[in-house]
Symmetry: C2
Subunit: 201 residues, 2 copies
């Protein structure tokens, strides 16, 4: 792990990297269900002993930080990819929502409890920066009502993603159907359409 100069390197593969990744993934999945889950449960899910877990993460907090960083990175990358190549803010909102619904575990882990990561240095408001910006553009485009507070729109946006992810996790709706109905509900609510809406382009 350290060369002759004592500089630690970061190999992309290798035993340690794989083990570490397994633990972080297990933490996200387990804590998405129940943030109070003990390290025991995470070690079990990652198929390692609690000893090994403690070798990689000295204490619970450092694993929380790592999981938070990982979850944000995955979501950031996926979000950026989803948004790129869209022709309008309306399209960006839809594309982004489909990604968020698809990564439900991470979404739930990150946003289930608003003050779960309050005061955590790792916490980045990257998405909370990007989303309001898209929404403002969508309002300028006329795709989103401009007489509604952006903070409200953000809340509803995440909330609907959350419900959709939960519906998938509970096997109530398929992934595709869940994403479709989520997008529809976000823009048009649950009211019956007075006419066939042709604006789904």
């Amino acid at each position: 792990m350290a060369n002759l100069l004592g500089v630690t390197t970061e190999p992309e593969s290798g035993v340690r990297t794989r083990t570490r990744q397994a633990i972080v993934s297990a933490a996200i999945a387990e804590w998405a269900r129940d943030f109070a889950a003990p390290l025991n449960a995470i070690a079990e899910r990652a198929d390692v002993s609690r000893s090994t877990l403690h070798r990689y993460f000295v204490d619970r907090q450092s694993l929380v930080d790592a999981a938070l960083r990982e979850a944000q990175e995955v979501l950031d990358n996926q979000s950026a990819a989803a948004v790129s190549g869209c022709g309008s803010a309306r399209e960006e909102l839809e594309s982004l929502m489909r990604v968020l619904v698809d990564f439900g575990d991470i979404l739930i882990f990150l946003f289930a409890d608003p003050n779960r990561f309050a005061g955590n240095a790792e916490w980045i408001e990257a998405e909370d920066e990007m989303l309001p910006e898209i929404i403002r553009r969508a309002q300028a485009e006329g795709a989103v009502a401009d007489d509604v507070e952006p903070s409200w729109v953000v809340g509803v946006y995440y909330s609907i993603c959350y419900v959709a992810a939960s519906a998938i996790a509970a096997d109530e709706l398929s992934r595709l159907r869940s994403a479709d109905v989520a997008v529809r509900t976000f823009f048009h609510g649950v009211a019956a359409s007075p006419t066939t809406r042709p604006d789904t382009h």
Copy 2:
């Protein structure tokens, strides 16, 4: 507390009743914020010692049960009152939503975590019975789209109430504004209205 026959009575007022009520209310409020909050925090919020709390509730579970029962009872009563006297399912949904938003603490306590009370004997699906029934009628009326799964509508309904209650708790929106925008969003989403909607009766 017990008459000559040894039959325990349930006084509407009295020291014990007041103390008990204070503890249960504190539990709902505290656990709405964080369900892992220790009994310590509840006792403090209720302005009693932990000794007293344990005199009223032998263990944590019995306090959880009492809080759950109380929360459901309040919400049931308020919901029934809200729904009565409505002319249509559409009105019932709106009236009920305004109540739920207004009792945000209780709503959050009850529905923040889907499996918080899983397996609890006290848990009643009273609301989960009433709401789908109203929604089915709303679909029959044409006020809610009938090509959307009722389970999805229920999820979105609670979710939007939850966001509205959170917005109030975070001082982002006023109680009135929050309820208004919640109702609007539930039925029509966040898209700009193509025409002025006259269907708010």
